[in-house]
Symmetry: C2
Subunit: 199 residues, 2 copies
C-alpha cells in the first residue's frame, strides 16, 4: 500500500475549515463509520462529509484500502499516546503500568467515551476490509503488554487486568448491557487487588 505519508508536511494552510485536507478526510471518515456504521463508509460519503470532491479524496488516498490504512495508523498513534499520557499521570508505584491501565478503563472522562466508540468503529471497519490492516495497532498493544510484564507483580496479574479491560471495552462496543456504577466500582476494586505487589 503506497501512502508515502502526506504529500508534504503541511504545505498548504488553505482550508475553509479544520486542518489540512488529509486530516479533514480522516475525521469525516471516522464520523461516518461511527455514526452510521461500517457499510456507510463509502468514498463518496467520506468525500462529501469532508467537503471534498471524490476526486479530491482519491488524490490523497489512492484507494479505499489506503484510506482505511490511514485511519488505522492514526488510530494506533492516538491509542499509544493516550496510554502514555495516562501512564505519565499515574504516580510511581511498583505496578504503575497496570494501575495506569486500570485508570484508563475506569476513569475516562465522559468525552473520551465517544472517542472510544469511534476508535472501535474504525477498528472494525479496517478488520472488515482486511485483517492485516490491524497490524499497527497490534504492535501498539504488544508494546503496552510488554510494559505490563515489566511491573513488579506476580505473573499473570497484569495480564488479567488488561484482559478484563479488553473485555469491558468489547462489551461496551457491542452494546452488552454494562454493570451499573455500583458493580463497576466493585469490579474495579477486584481488579485493583490484582495490582497490589503483595500476593
Amino acid at each position: 500500500m503506497p501512502d508515502g505519508s502526506s504529500p508534504a508536511a503541511e504545505p498548504r494552510p488553505r482550508a475553509p475549515e479544520g486542518g489540512d485536507a488529509r486530516t479533514r478526510i480522516l475525521d469525516a471518515a471516522e464520523r461516518i463509520v461511527q455514526a452510521r456504521g461500517v457499510p456507510a463508509l463509502t468514498l463518496e460519503a467520506a468525500a462529501r462529509e469532508a467537503g471534498v470532491s471524490k476526486g479530491g479524496l482519491l488524490y490523497h488516498f489512492a484507494s479505499k484500502e489506503a484510506l482505511l490504512a490511514g485511519l488505522l495508523n492514526r488510530l494506533a498513534d492516538h491509542v499509544e499516546a493516550e496510554f502514555l499520557a495516562v501512564l505519565e499521570a499515574e504516580p510511581p508505584h511498583p505496578a504503575r503500568a497496570t494501575r495506569a491501565v486500570l485508570a484508563w478503563i475506569f476513569d475516562h472522562p465522559e468525552a473520551a467515551c465517544e472517542k472510544h466508540q469511534r476508535a472501535a468503529a474504525v477498528f472494525l471497519a479496517a478488520f472488515h476490509h482486511d485483517p492485516a490492516l490491524l497490524d499497527p495497532i497490534r504492535a501498539v498493544f504488544r508494546r503496552i503488554r510488554d510494559r505490563l510484564r515489566a511491573d513488579a507483580l506476580p505473573p499473570g496479574h497484569a495480564l488479567a487486568v488488561m484482559a478484563a479491560g479488553d473485555g469491558l471495552f468489547m462489551a461496551r462496543v457491542f452494546g452488552m448491557d454494562a454493570p451499573e456504577a455500583e458493580e463497576m466500582a466493585a469490579l474495579r476494586a477486584a481488579l485493583a487487588t490484582l495490582a497490589e505487589p503483595r500476593a
Copy 2:
C-alpha cells in the same frame, strides 16, 4: 423478521447430504464467513456452498437479514448450551458458575477453537449488517452474568473473571498475539484467586 421456524417440522427427508436444507445453508454460511471473511458472505456464495440454488436459499431465508438472524439465533442457542454443559460438568462449589467460566475459557478442547472463531465471525457479520441482530446473544450473556452474580463471592469478582474471559476471547478473534502457555497458566491462576470465596 418473519421466520416462523422451519416451514414444517422435517417434512422431507430427501437430502443428498447433511441434514435438512436450512441447517445445511446455515452451516455453509458459517463456513464462508469464517474462512473468507464477512464480505465474502453473499447469498450466492452461501447457496453454492450449501449445494443449493440462490432461489432455493431465498426460499428458506427470505432475505439476507433473515439468514443472518438465523445464524445468530442458532449461535445464541449453541453458546448457551455450551456454557450450560460446562457448568454442569463443574463440581459443586460456592463459586461454581465463575469457575465454569474459567474452565470454559481455558480448558476448551482444541476442536472448540475453530468453533469459537466461527462464532466470532458470525457475530461480527451480524453486527456489521445491523447491530440489533445481536439481541439474542445479548440476552444469553445477560443470563450468564446473572448466574455469575449469584455466586457466593465478594462483589465484582465474578464479573472481573467474565470480563477477562471476554477480553481473551476478543484478543484471539482479532489476532492479537496471545501469551504463551506459561503466561496463560499464570493468568488463569490469577483469575482463580478471584474465584475463591475467601476474599
